[in-house]
Chain length 339, copies 6
């Protein structure tokens, strides 16, 4: 398989988390991780041997440098990331337990990324040599500038033959904050996309429609039909479905739909979840790896779900599992200590 | 709802715990928490927006000050706590796992609280302005002085119109140590109480009776009948019942009984328990909040059990959950990350 | 001595620091402390047995609550602090070593405090019962709203007979950010003040004058004369002077000047500095304690400098030393382990 | 019961583990434990009140001394351990989660133990006064020198009336590395053994045979028959069987077979496993304790399995549970906090 | 040199210390060390290759076992230590900085050791095979029972030909607590001693005399003359003198006096002190090593002071330096990294 | 200034250090850093904005990947580093204090780098596009294979016009281990070098000569004359001189000599050293930066010494200081907190 090259555009965030299962600042210590939906995908791709570059803007201070250092550490090309005065977007995480859900407290308003001028990105140059542009619905939701940049990125990608991958990630609260028109903006991006990571609720929100059905599978089918109809460039839609038996015990399944049919993976049990954040990003990176491998759609969805599953075992936002580990998980390999 | 004011009387303890699931001093580090049954109730009440003051005596050294600082941090009024020469009561905790139960090693003998003269408390003044006095069966079990103080507190409360709340917490080992007459002392306190947090075993021990029945529910019913008969001032009895499927997997249910009937909450599943200590104290605070809210007995028991349930997810002795979190848990809300 | 009551008005900050002498995010952990110039003074006063209340606004989220919890823990009355949507002001600290100075990276822009409407403070009510209002030059430098609030606070204090204490803390960068007229604003506040913690450079900046002299002592004398002339209400001026022999080896001296003379304390050597932040706030609290004690100006300046000196030995922003510890340091007591 | 004395021969390893569920060097910290199959058995025996001495060689550096210190701390006699130039054998552990298995990365090649001359051990003297020599299949697998030493030890034990206990622990990868003849070497040792901790797969590998059967129990029966036939000195064979429901959820059962019959313990459920390493060593020590107690085979296998079960709750390689704790676990005692 | 065997009698304490330079419970974590004057000497001796046994009583709980484990880890024979119901003596340590001295908060009252019956020690048996009995003035100061045991130990040692080593360690506060007659008791022990680690102040307190002189050297000389006169069995007196330039910057010198003369070591500079506790115990162990080596008094005092000096660089109560490290320090060896 | 590109060849090591000032495994935790003389130079150069690539071989396991990740994090191009079966070279560090020097315990024997075939490096390709090849005397000292590779690298560099930079780092112990001819090998490399970081002792060892002189400056001058005479290609020699006032208090000076003269920087005081390892590598990177800046020899030596000085304040092997920080240190800038 040839190794495709991805350009991921979005904000890089710093996660500051209470240790273990403590409440925020219950003891005076925070653990730092680097995240952000698109950065997570970039790292996920790079860990699987794909070429990944990040397009973003960070604060021109030690926190911004630390964020880039972490991307480079994980083999992501961060050379195109700009620096600007301002602050890094942060989020504070309190990990849940028993019957207390995890809580994310965003502190990303007014970040250097959010404030960066959309005219400041020279998309033709930034995307040069890339096979894919990946972005998510979080980026345009940040504010008018980021929305403009995201749409411009997707359109330029279309113009210069870079394929567009889009992860829905609809964040109503962010859109509400600046009164942006989320559905319209996301439609503009989906118009450019060849693959979309969206579930039936995303489709409903974006198209302003509502889908009925006997079960989630039927609802999803109708939603995907509508999406394929609305976005002619779209070739593939993928999504996971998560069931939560408890705060630490989840179950995920996945689907990969094309215009001609769909491939599914039955539920994968996830007891003792360590860190669920970034599982969707791990899924997107895994599906891309699977598709690029040329082993077919079943392999792609299986690999994507196994990648997402392994993410639940790894602290932090990023999926650091290797192809070998993910394939072992796909095969339901032995669970005992490997020596 | 008007906000009632509680005065909690008892010893404040310092917990020194082995980190994670280590054995005591397996590695040379201990994690400190502040606890003690009544202090836990005071904090639980204050976290729910009630007014709570602590009545106690701590050692006049940095450990005593640290204990008071923690209470103040959690919004408990600690101005009435006395300082005296001596030591703080300690307990060492080794948290269990798999099939190894947690172990508490008490080191509270001869503490400043245990040694403090019962004549030293001016109860009329200490209870002034309080709606409730809360105490537990641990306090009189500490020794003759503490027993005398507890009985005097309850009686003064009765005299000046402060309602008495009592949590059974029968500790046979403590009573045995100084050969105190537990049942007789606790009867003296229950004589003053309007609400008691006691289960059927507590009633048996205190009344020196034994109750039979087809199941726990029947035994409990008979025990409660006997308690209402024995203590005419008593209006409400509440208790939880705990089933342990494993060291880390519990299940609790609750009951709130009045002279006219009872209200129950079916079992609430608690997988992946983080810290079970103080759950009973969280329950007492939760029931009081529920009763004070005027939303009825079902709300009170539901809220109390949900408060106890959430405590299992929080490291330390104290329940730091908010009304909002507890109500979300009552409603069986979504378990996924809240953003 | 009677115990005066202080109201401190300013922003409460959260410090996030790299551990030990590491660079920021060199390892992915941060240590949290609560600070802010006026909050530090409030805690310093409360630790010395004075009554101290905080007037501020924090974010209505767990970080804001944690900040208030820390003030309460240290015996500061935080009941009058407002909550508002928004973020907490943060600062990131990298502690220096050898020849690398410590670095503070502020991330306080757009905080709930900075954004709070100056009309939202009911100063007569907030200051009721206080003997002193303490504020610093940091507060008005935050932005137009905070500046308006600070001036209003000082003027109301004057009106209702609450004495005003002001700590210069001139922060040119903050003023520049919003193009505020620092000197004019600070003159408005100093017009109300009875005691000012300002050095010769502060006076030069505020009065727009420049003072010459053979040495720092002479320059300072002239500056203070000018300040007393400019601000008729001013009775006392105090300041420390810091010499740095190395990043970890400082020396401080202090002066307390009245209209009739001055009292000085010769240099106090500070080898092996642990944490220098908040030393000025510790000084202000110490001088106030000394003045309130009625033991005269020499005691006041000695106590203030000793308080500031001890702050250098204590991690965090706040001076947690007791009167006893500070008096022992004043007397140059034994340095060996106390048992 | 009289207290038998054990001599355990094998390499002492240092485990360096990623903290919690992190990947190796995800954060730059490692947690150290002392281990090695035979050292674990020695500690397990000493914790149960047996006399245990270690026979080994460690590097003559602080790491070697630290390893011996840990054995002494746990009451193992380390006086006979030699020091030699060279390195300590290490292994790096990444603890698994969810569906990611734990991984052991060995770095033990060329260790002081592996390089030590088999002629350097004076077995008659080293075994003097011991009732039992215990060794495992790991030791001869390390290399030619260690294999020669192990065989010599077992033969000398036979000669001087010290009984031999052998734990299979077949490690194909280690044998392959130096092209050693594993089956032949292990047969030489088993020829000397009175008790062997081996399962049906060990027997197949060692005897080069293959056993069929309707289920594991039948296969095991046939394998054990063959082993008793092949090794006339052998009196007892014991083994555990492990089923893994998840990375953190195991189930173990045990069997103790003599020439006249077998004793089994049904499966013991192990949810929330903390550390599974060393469970086999805990089992061997537990069975020996049980046999020495004279309470019969059922007690011995029950005690052994309970010891292994408790090991899963204790961080590190060694079983630090006491007789009292293990007996409580055997009886399925209460799981609630012990006070 | 032949290796003498020491029996050390005294209480084993657990130190619980605030991390780094934090105040006690400023953050909720404590670091544990094992200490106690005589235990420190035992470990110091064992680290230098001497045989050392501990005679003591610990609580029969996990804390007591942990204390013994630490002694064994450091090669001290703890087989003769008794277990008794009760508690372990604790002390809390806050390490000082800049101008804030370290503080020890004792919590040792009512410990298992203090409560143990002096008749419970069979001294002839406990001292069998020992060349030396070492005890300190802390032990008899603990209470009447410990005082009786200490005197009995010293007298039995005299009777059976075991030489007595005594470290003054006069603790006025402990004696005052139970109104013990310190001077008289210590005279009883010194009557038995062959070597005493006492300075001029110890002699004054014990003999109830006062010595004048031009300088400390003269005062010490007269004190030692008086001690030799008072205690005919005494052959050697040793002491260190400490000057403190700062909390972290000390200087120590040493003297070893016999009836015929004295040997001194000039001041040894100790900048950047890490942990000063146990330096006196390290000195005693070092002097004993030096004397046993047969290299003369100058070597003995030099080695003793160098041992004490190195202790200042090692966290915890015990001196873990090796003979090689101490000899390198004696020779003023290179300070650069050793590779 | 144009930005030169450096290729650094050598082994990448993993440092495992005892925390703080603890002894090795005193508590069971190690802190990991990535180091190795040439990797440190590569990182130092990249931190200063130069292009730096690493040429090396790491173990094909998670430790090797972690090492490369750290280099990438610091902007070093690690794409040319090979992976091979085997182990990573380790070293254990115990940081000294007071009068106890730091100790390094190497565990690097048999590493993947040491075992890698010198024929495996395609030097023309590996050095392509580089302006400089940097290597140190540690690399050839590792063993015959590494020595052959180092000489081949230097010679190929000469052939293809890549300038050679060499850091002496004579390690007698490593050469002794495999009986390599250090002086002869290093002469072969110095023959190729244009700049050498060597002091007078290095020259003596390499040339087998001995230089006399009134002081170090004179000896150094003669040694450098001899070196320039022996190695015609050599243009510049640089070195630092270190004086140690204490384990934590050093002083360094520097010299940069050309064939026409020398430039010196007087001693720079370094109190409170945090981490001295890698200071020489920081110096080499700093001198290269200074030379490349075209600001002359005085700037180069000043910058090099300031870089080395700052390294003493940064935990770990690598100098992470920026140009701005180093220039501030050169100018003796303010030492107070920078805000």
């Amino acid at each position: 398989m040839s190794t495709p090259s991805f350009a991921c555009f979005g904000e890089i965030l710093i996660r500051l988390a209470a240790p273990g299962r403590e409440l925020l600042l219950q003891t005076p210590r925070l653990e730092a991780h680097i995240g952000g939906a698109e950065a997570n995908v970039a790292v996920g791709l790079a860990m699987l041997g794909m070429r990944a570059r990040m397009i973003s803007v960070v604060a021109d201070n030690p926190l911004g440098e630390a964020a880039l250092g972490e991307l480079r550490r994980r083999n992501v090309d961060a050379a195109a990331v700009g620096r600007a005065p301002g602050r890094m977007g942060l989020y504070f995480l309190t990990t849940g337990a028993v019957r207390r859900p995890s809580e994310v407290l965003y502190d990303r308003h007014g970040s250097a990324f959010a404030e960066s001028d959309p005219e400041g990105y020279d998309w033709s140059s930034l995307l040069k040599g890339a096979d894919w542009l990946h972005l998510s619905g979080v980026t345009p939701a940040i504010g008018q500038k980021a929305a403009a940049a995201a749409v411009a990125a997707a359109r330029t990608a279309n113009d210069i033959g870079v394929r567009v991958s889009f992860d829905g990630n609809y964040r109503a609260q962010l859109w509400k904050r600046w009164k942006g028109d989320g559905p319209s903006t996301l439609r503009n991006i989906l118009d450019c996309a060849e693959i979309a990571f969206i579930n039936e609720r995303d489709v409903e929100l974006i198209l302003g429609m509502s889908f009925e059905g006997a079960d989630i599978s039927e609802r999803r089918e109708r939603a995907y039909e509508a999406a394929f109809a609305a976005f002619p460039r779209l070739k593939l839609i993928a999504a996971t479905n998560r069931i939560q038996h408890g705060v630490d015990h989840h179950e995920i399944s996945g689907v990969l739909a094309s215009r001609v049919g769909k491939t599914e993976l039955r539920a994968c049990d996830l007891p003792g979840v360590v860190d669920r954040i970034g599982a969707g990003d791990a899924f997107a990176a895994g599906v891309h790896y699977g598709l690029a491998s040329g082993k077919g759609d079943q392999y792609a969805i299986d690999f994507g779900v196994a990648a997402a599953a392994l993410k639940h075992s790894i602290p932090g936002d990023m999926n650091l599992a290797s192809v070998q580990q993910i394939e072992a998980a796909m095969e339901g390999g032995a669970l005992d200590v490997r020596r």
